[in-house]
Amino acid sequence: MPFFNVIRWVAWKDLISEVRSRETISSMFFFALIVILVFSFSFSMDQAAARELIAGIIWVAFAFTGIIGLGKSFSAELQNDCLEHLQISPASKGAIYLGKLAANLLFMLIVEVILFPMFVIFFNLDVVEELPLLLLIFALATLGLSTVGTLFSAMTVQIRAREVMLPILLLPLAVPVMIAAVEATRGALHGDPVSLYGNWLRLLAVFDIVFTVLSFWAFEWIMDT
């Protein structure tokens, strides 16, 4: 099958099974909702304090939520030996990786777009004019989390203690994404000019490119039988 068709079919397969079962997105969404509530109880914030802290809270919630989605992405393949069929299929492993990555990215972005209004309501934010820029930041940082996350999800699904190992492996590597995402989000929420935090967007773009290429290459070794 041609390369791009494989990508499309793998992503399509994940989307269809998600539409039918609604497991991943609903569990991600309710988990994130609980994280937001816990944060809003833990810090009793006025609007000034909220503006300082909210970027960090948003990204902690998004990263933990993302880990749930990423973990489910490959553990769903364990049923009916789907993982083995992916491994022995003649399709290019890189294309399977990109398909999985596209599906994970889409799930995380959907959850983030649903969740962000919750932050706006609970923490009383003022975001209307910065919305396109925030969406760009979300897209870049979420791609960064899901490139490495998809690779490690495929890796940890085949070992013991997989629920523990995915965050242990992913979060240290995602340190640059978290720093850049938090700094850029804070800048955007403050209404700073883009030139002040454009560096962070560039860093996110570099991280995305480097790790998409690297994971694309490394996925071959992970899926080897």
Binding site: M155, Q158, P176, I179, L203, S215, A218, I222
Partner: protein, 250 residues
């Protein structure tokens, strides 16, 4: 059947270890007794002769792990995997010691145990990656798969470290500028010589530890394979009805 690499290690490990020990003894004398105290930091600066070599050896060990991992994915030689496993453990050890001595040095000079500085954070992240690497290895059942996964993780982590470094450097930084850079060395000779000797000593010690640990892991590997063969023989012989006591008299 003992591989050429293991034979080579058995021949030279003593010399490397002895050289490392001698260098460390000489470096300790020069650093702690013969060298002058620092103009600004006084006697406190002497922890540098331990801290800097520890950190550099940690990086040397991770670089060895990185090259070994690439080599493993290329050649799929189990001994190279044993070498990587050994290098990762030693790198985690040196990195942990480097973080601890750095913390002790930071308290009198920066008046804080820890700060969110680029090099501190990259080293903490490196330590976490190495711990994750060692944990990952314990959780995989099939040795061949364990080796592949570990190699991929080591390579991805190695590529991540410069990005971590630059991101934290933009974020905030307090560490003194590097004493060695492209523009030359900003350190006086009586301090530079013991530091160099200590660095050589720690590097040789690392290679000694690497050789010993690789041999241990290699023997462990052989032993596991042997045990597997004996067990399957025992199962086979009990299947056809003969006595299972063949296990005790192999």
């Amino acid at each position: 059947m003992i591989s050429a690499l293991i034979k080579w290690m058995q021949r030279y490990e003593g010399w490397v270890g002895a050289g490392g020990g001698l260098c460390i003894l000489a470096g300790l004398y020069l650093g702690l007794v013969a060298s002058p105290p620092d103009y600004y930091q006084g006697e406190v600066v002497r922890i540098m002769y331990v801290h800097v070599p520890l950190v550099q050896t940690g990086m040397l060990a991770y670089s060895t792990l990185f090259i070994g991992s690439l080599w493993y994915l290329w050649k799929r030689d189990p001994i190279v995997d044993n070498l990587c496993h050994a290098a990762a453990g030693i790198s985690a050890f040196f990195t942990a010691l480097g973080l601890i001595t750095g913390s002790i040095w930071a308290k009198p000079t920066w008046n804080t145990w820890w700060t969110w500085d680029a090099r501190l954070v990259s080293f903490a992240v490196m330590f976490l990656i190495l711990v994750g690497y060692l944990m990952l290895r314990t959780f995989v059942d099939d040795p061949e798969r364990e080796a592949r996964y570990a190699a991929v993780l080591a390579i991805v982590g190695f590529v991540d470290l410069p990005i971590v470094h630059f991101s934290v450097e933009w974020w905030r930084t307090l560490h003194q500028p590097l004493s060695f850079s492209m523009r030359g060395v900003s350190m006086s000779k009586p301090m530079l010589i013991p530091l160099g000797i200590m660095t050589v000593g720690f590097s040789l010690t690392f290679f000694y530890m690497l050789m010993v640990r690789t041999q241990m892991l290699y023997l462990d590997h052989l032993l596991t394979a042997k045990k597997g063969r004996l067990l399957s023989q025992a199962h086979l012989s009990s299947d056809v009805g003969s006595s299972p006591s063949s296990l005790s008299t192999p």
